[in-house]
């Protein structure tokens, strides 16, 4: 079962995406900030990460930078899901950039393509 780590500070959105991914047969982990996200990422080494850009304590791009410096994590594909528009270049190597509120079918399609799951 493929593992997805969801990083977002809003518990309602974490709840939403957890249900969405689990209903599609993925295993999920959630993190509400950068520190927690890095800790779980290192421990679980997920197959994909969804990342919010604006969180109260630290910015999403910082998470991405730190993650890129870790050999075991740097190749994990990242999907940016953010409430900010126009920040497409904040995370250069993201496989996709979605703006909230996102289209859930589009998100699932991208996730399945990225993870080669049908």
């Amino acid at each position: 079962m493929k593992k997805i780590l969801i990083v977002d500070d809003d518990p309602n959105i974490l709840d939403y995406m957890t249900s969405l991914f689990e209903d599609s047969g993925f295993k999920t982990f959630t993190a509400r900030d950068v520190q927690e996200g890095l800790k779980i990422a290192k421990k679980e080494v997920p197959d994909l990460i969804t990342l919010d850009l604006e969180m109260p304590d630290e910015w999403g791009p910082r998470f991405y930078r730190k993650m890129s410096q870790d050999k075991s994590l740097k190749n994990i594909p990242v999907i940016v899901i953010s409430g900010l528009s126009g920040g497409d270049h904040a995370v250069g190597k993201a496989v996709a950039y979605l703006t909230k509120p996102f289209d859930r079918d589009e998100l699932l399609k991208i996730v399945k393509e990225t993870l080669h799951v049908s």
Binding site: D9, I13, Y16, E54, K100
Partner: protein
């Protein structure tokens, strides 16, 4: 200039002798032997001097002379008469004649009389012209005074020591009739010259200068003014005074501030709105899948989430509407205890969801209060929900309680006290909490809630006192007058952009 002379004398030989004498003196003249002839001639030649023998006791000539003098005051009449008729002639014509000569007329006496008549004519002419000029001057002066007074801006004229030497009507209305006072004292209530002064600059270089200033009228109202200066020079071209013209742009500035902050608001809120919409999508998704799977627990949970998100979106939209539009309060007499119960009821769902105990102590005999129930209730709910949030964010304590007390402070004053044992506030948060767009809740907050709640309480003539200690909790005292008559008149909310418990919290200065 030639002065045409009309001679009226029924003694033809005397008339002719005069005529010959005057011609020799190069004076144009005409003769008439009867008043009728004289009348026809006068109409044609417009004589300036009439040399006449009234021919008394016949009154025809004197009647003609009087009528001419009454319609043509500028004509000068010289009377020639015999010694016997002299007194009667004077009695008849009095001041209508400029001179009385004895017949036969002596040339020197005639010369003098004519000279005098011509002098009068010249003087009269000058007087007429001066009168016309004076009239024009008065008219112009009146026009300029009117322009000076009625121009829709403040005008003052100042000397080198910045003393006001003239001010217009608008200036006098708002700043008083302060001729002789210093400009800086009247406009800015200062004891010394302002650091930058366009009047001083104009005295120095003779050019126009402009600044934007905030001045305070005698009623204490602040005006944003755009000021232009112009030099006033004397006949030698030296600058003796400077005129200062100030246009009131307060409303433009207010509108600009409001638009700026509206833009700021939309910008700062878009992230929050997007988050809420995504969470609403989440609720709908779970509702759909819950129904599809016939999973009642999931459906119920999803429904709660949808309800909660709809409530949050509704609150945010109302806040935006409240801020975006100038709103008059719609007063109603409301039972205080019932309103307080509703406030607690509204907040109860969120409190139980977040595991915070909400206790209410509401005396049932609080009577009625004149308020706009929609906005006052929303403001009170905002305070209670903030207290609940403060508990939810706190990580130092296990059990959290918010209490809501409503009691009567005096016959006409009601108090609500909202106490929580949540995270408390640091100094900065305490100072800024009522400031527009300030939030300590990250993307969850709009920075509008407490700003508006504070405004609503102020609009109702109420007061807010806050006690708070970091990690321990906060206590809000909100006191309101029960009757509308005890409430001060406030400006509509949207016209004032800044707020705070005290002025130190204003961040727009």
């Amino acid at each position: 200039m030639s002065h045409e002379i009309l001679i009226i004398d029924k003694d033809a030989s005397h008339a002719r002798a005069l005529c010959v004498y005057l011609e020799r003196k190069r004076m144009e003249n005409h003769m008439a032997f009867t008043p009728d002839e004289a009348a026809v001639l006068y109409d044609n030649i417009e004589a300036q001097v009439i040399l006449a023998d009234p021919g008394l006791p016949d009154m025809e000539v004197t009647a003609f002379l009087k009528s001419i003098k009454s319609t043509h005051a500028q004509v000068q009449i010289i009377i020639m008469t015999t010694l016997e008729q002299f007194d009667q002639a004077m009695a008849e014509l009095k001041y209508d004649a400029v001179h009385y000569l004895l017949k036969p007329v002596k040339s020197t006496a005639l010369d003098m009389a004519l000279y005098q008549a011509r002098s009068w004519i010249e003087l009269n002419r000058q007087l007429e012209s001066t009168k016309k000029k004076l009239k024009l001057l008065r008219h112009t002066q009146h026009l300029y005074q009117q322009l000076f007074d009625e121009v829709p801006c403040y005008i003052s004229v100042q000397d080198r020591s910045f003393r006001l030497t003239a001010t217009n009507k608008r200036f006098k209305q708002d700043f008083g009739d302060e001729i002789g006072s210093h400009c800086y004292a009247v406009y800015k209530h200062r004891g010394s010259v302002c650091q930058t002064c366009p009047v001083a600059d104009t005295f120095a270089d003779g050019n126009s200068h402009s600044t934007e200033e905030v001045v305070t009228s005698k009623s204490g109202k602040q005006h944003h003014v755009l000021t232009w200066t112009a030099p006033i020079r004397n006949g030698e071209g030296e600058i003796t005074q400077v005129m200062e013209m100030s246009t009131d742009i307060t409303e433009i500035r207010q509108l600009q501030d409001h638009l700026t902050s509206l833009g700021l608001m939309i910008g700062s809120m878009s992230h929050g709105v997007r988050g809420m919409l995504t969470a609403l999508d989440g609720g709908i998704y779970k509702l759909e899948t819950g129904l599809a799977k016939n999973d009642m627990a999931r459906t119920h949970k999803a429904f709660d989430q949808v309800k909660q998100m709809t409530g949050r979106i509704r609150k945010m939209v109302l806040e935006i509407l409240y801020y975006a539009k100038s709103r008059e309060l719609h007063y109603q007499s409301i039972n205080i205890a019932e309103m307080a119960d509703k406030v607690v009821g509204d907040a109860l769902a969120i409190a139980s969801k977040l595991g915070v105990k909400l206790e209410a102590n509401i005396s049932p005999t609080l009577g009625v209060i004149d308020v706009d129930p929609t906005w006052l209730q929303a403001a009170l709910v905002n305070f209670v929900e903030n207290a609940i949030d403060a508990c939810a964010y706190d990580r130092y304590k296990q059990d959290h309680v918010v209490t809501f007390d409503a009691f009567e402070l005096s016959a006409d004053r009601i108090c609500f006290i909202i106490t929580d044992n949540g995270m408390g506030m640091d100094q900065e948060t305490k100072e800024k909490m009522f400031t527009l767009f300030f939030t300590s809740k990250g993307s969850q907050g709009t920075g509008l809630g407490l700003f508006i709640a504070n405004r609503v309480i102020q609009q109702h003539g109420g007061t807010i006192n806050v006690e708070s200690e970091l990690k321990k909790g906060s206590k809000f005292h909100i006191c309101l007058p029960k009757s509308k008559s005890n409430q001060p008149k406030m400006v509509p909310v949207s016209k004032k952009l800044t707020t705070g418990v005290n002025n130190e919290t204003d961040n727009k200065k």
